[in-house]
Amino acid sequence: MSSQPVSVKGSGGAGGAPLRMLWPFALALAVAAFMHFVVGPNFNGTVVQVLLFAGINITLAVSLTMVNGFTGQFSIGHAGFMAVGGYVAGGLVYYLSARFFDSPQIAFHGGILSAGADYRPDPDHPLPLLSRGDLIMIGSCLAGGLVAAGAGYVVGLPTLRLRGDYLAIVTLGFGEIVRVIFQGTGPQVLFTKAQEMRDTPLHQLAWKLGGAQGFNFIPIYATLFWVFLLASITVAAALRLKYSSPGRAMISIREDEVAAQAMGVNVTRYKVRAFVLASFFAGLAGALAALSIGQMNASAYGFIKSFDFIIMIVLGGMGSISGAVLAATVLTILPEALRQFDSYRMIAYALLLIIIMILRPQGLFGIREVWELGPVRRLLARAGRGGSAA
């Protein structure tokens, strides 16, 4: 394992053929467009809502895989980074659209990519592909992701020297502090108070995030397009990372930290990198979560929420990206599907969790991806031979 400084950019390898660098993005765009234009219009609002949550949870589970799965560092503060992203993006979109569209009513100002599933095209007033509102939204989401990444750096640098459970406890404490801080922010300036909105300088608005009452009336921009664009990019980034030199350095830390260090891997640096990268994607996912339900409430982002994502990646198999995707999808849909059983569904969920942990401790796929499993590989090989013979 070389200790050469290799840049980790999430989007994959540096240099080389530009086409090879770009194909994951093209694929992500295709997936997002397919979800938005083909899947979205064919299902009702409830299904679309569940799909949105599934996409957001996929992003969070896969980003957590980079920390817990690759480097083996146990973080239970992921929901904290999600909350940071959500509050930054939600606050920016809300207050910026109040400023820019200069009307007390923060109406929907998005283009066709941000039009919800119930949008029916109107030939007289066609929506543009992207509008001013979308640009504000994209900028705000990126800001949310970057602030979350910054928070990840600030938390990660001192704490990633701790080991095992102690790191888990610190990240837990961080998540709870984030929650308490957002609960202590000032009251939200409602858009019915246009005068107050105009008179308060932006830096003061930044602290008016609703406090314990939560931050409401965030314009709903997140659609299947944006959510699955982010989810696909996160998956592509995680896959490229896993099979890259820095990714292997990270996995070596997970396997044996002392041995990795002896081989020249700068352990702390790779841990911090994984942590910052994961925080960035978690922040973006939190931003889209806020923009999909239209409100933020810090009390929903405690460590219980972080556990949701840990459960997903452990069930999928630690370090398995396809496992995380599958588990995130199933665990988002399952509680919804069990909703008719009402008070028994959480009991069943809890029992299922315990039983799976006892019967299949390595999770669904272990560290491997679904296409690396024995039966699937044989199947693929047979298909490949059959194809070449024909």
């Binding site: 459960i311 008070s343 969920y349 809890a350 942990m357």
Partner: protein, 312 residues
């Protein structure tokens, strides 16, 4: 000055509760090296069982026409609650944790989360405790014992501090003066070596879980004394937060260290109440976690803990 003394008394009382819960966290961590996230739900169960058992014994909520219960009824409720919750602790360890003795730590942790979710949601079922808050029984009269410097010492505070003190001294004796205690210390030092020395490790672990659950049940009982009024439903976030602070207390004192848990509990209780009294009270949880992070950064093994050196 009198308000300062009052804050101190409240801090010590709550600190005693935290210490009792923290003992359970720290003993399980010391022996199995895993954070038992279901422990706060055991505490919740203790509070709700206090109420249920008091109801069986005919103690009415809020005292009613009969007034507060006799003192021996209170003791009876405490003992029965501890026994019942101890049995629950035994069953949980036997069914959920023992099959995972050889599994990775993360799996045990997830199982603990599963157990926690199970207890929370099972308690919410209509025929168990239900989803509505329930009024606490009046087990002690609201008597002021004496006044010092403008501070009135309540019977409740004395009862809570006294009971936790007795239980903590009992733990001290149990762990450092009995055969079972030395077996527990041996297992926490090295499970493998302890079993080679003829110690029945499974039995010791079961015993630890039962003792931890009983202490948490006692804390639940004392909680209903200290905060009479409405008991929130078992899945309420407030319970988790109380348990979490007790866990913080265990870590601050030095996780795995029994005396550290007591010290940490008192410290966290005092810090929480002093900061609420003299700083912004909205951030009360943040102060506790800030202390946690500071302690972990500068003394990761906790105040009384011993640093472990990783050998290759």
């Amino acid at each position: 000055m009198s308000s300062f003394l009052q804050t101190l008394i409240d801090g010590v009382t709550v600190g005693g509760l935290y210490a009792l819960i923290a003992l359970g966290y720290t003993m399980v961590y010391g022996i199995l090296k895993f954070i038992n996230f279901a422990h706060s739900d055991i505490f919740t169960l203790g509070a709700w069982m206090t109420l249920t058992i008091a109801g069986w014994l005919g103690v009415q909520a809020g005292g009613g026409a009969t007034g507060p219960a006799a003192w021996y009824v209170g003791v009876g409720v405490l003992v029965l609650t501890m026994v019942f919750v101890g049995v629950v602790g035994f069953v949980i360890e036997r069914l959920a944790y023992r099959p995972l003795r050889q599994a990775p730590k993360l799996n045990v942790l997830i199982t603990a989360i599963g157990v926690s979710l199970f207890l929370q949601n099972f308690g919410q079922l209509k025929f168990i405790f239900g989803t509505d808050p329930a009024p606490t029984p009046l087990l002690l009269p609201g008597v002021t014992l004496f006044s010092v410097g403008g501070v009135s010492i309540q019977l409740v505070d004395v009862a809570v501090i006294g009971t936790s003190l007795v239980l903590m001294l009992g733990m001290e004796v149990l762990i450092f003066r009995t055969r079972m205690g030395s077996a527990m210390r041996a297992v926490s030092f090295s499970t493998r070596n302890a079993s080679l020395m003829g110690i029945n490790v499974d039995k010791v672990i079961s015993f630890t879980f039962v003792i931890g659950a009983m202490l948490a049940a006692a804390a639940g009982f004392l909680y209903t004394l200290k905060y009479p009024g409405q008991l929130k439903q078992t899945a309420d976030g407030m319970w988790v937060m109380l348990g979490l602070k007790a866990f913080v207390a265990a870590v601050v004192g030095g996780i795995g260290n029994v005396r550290g848990a007591v010290l940490g509990g008192l410290l966290i209780g005092l810090i929480e109440y002093l900061s609420v009294a003299y700083l912004k009270s909205e951030y009360r949880d943040a102060y506790v976690f800030a202390i946690l992070i500071l302690v972990l950064l500068f003394r990761p093994e906790g105040i009384l803990g011993r640093a472990t050196v990783e050998k290759v």
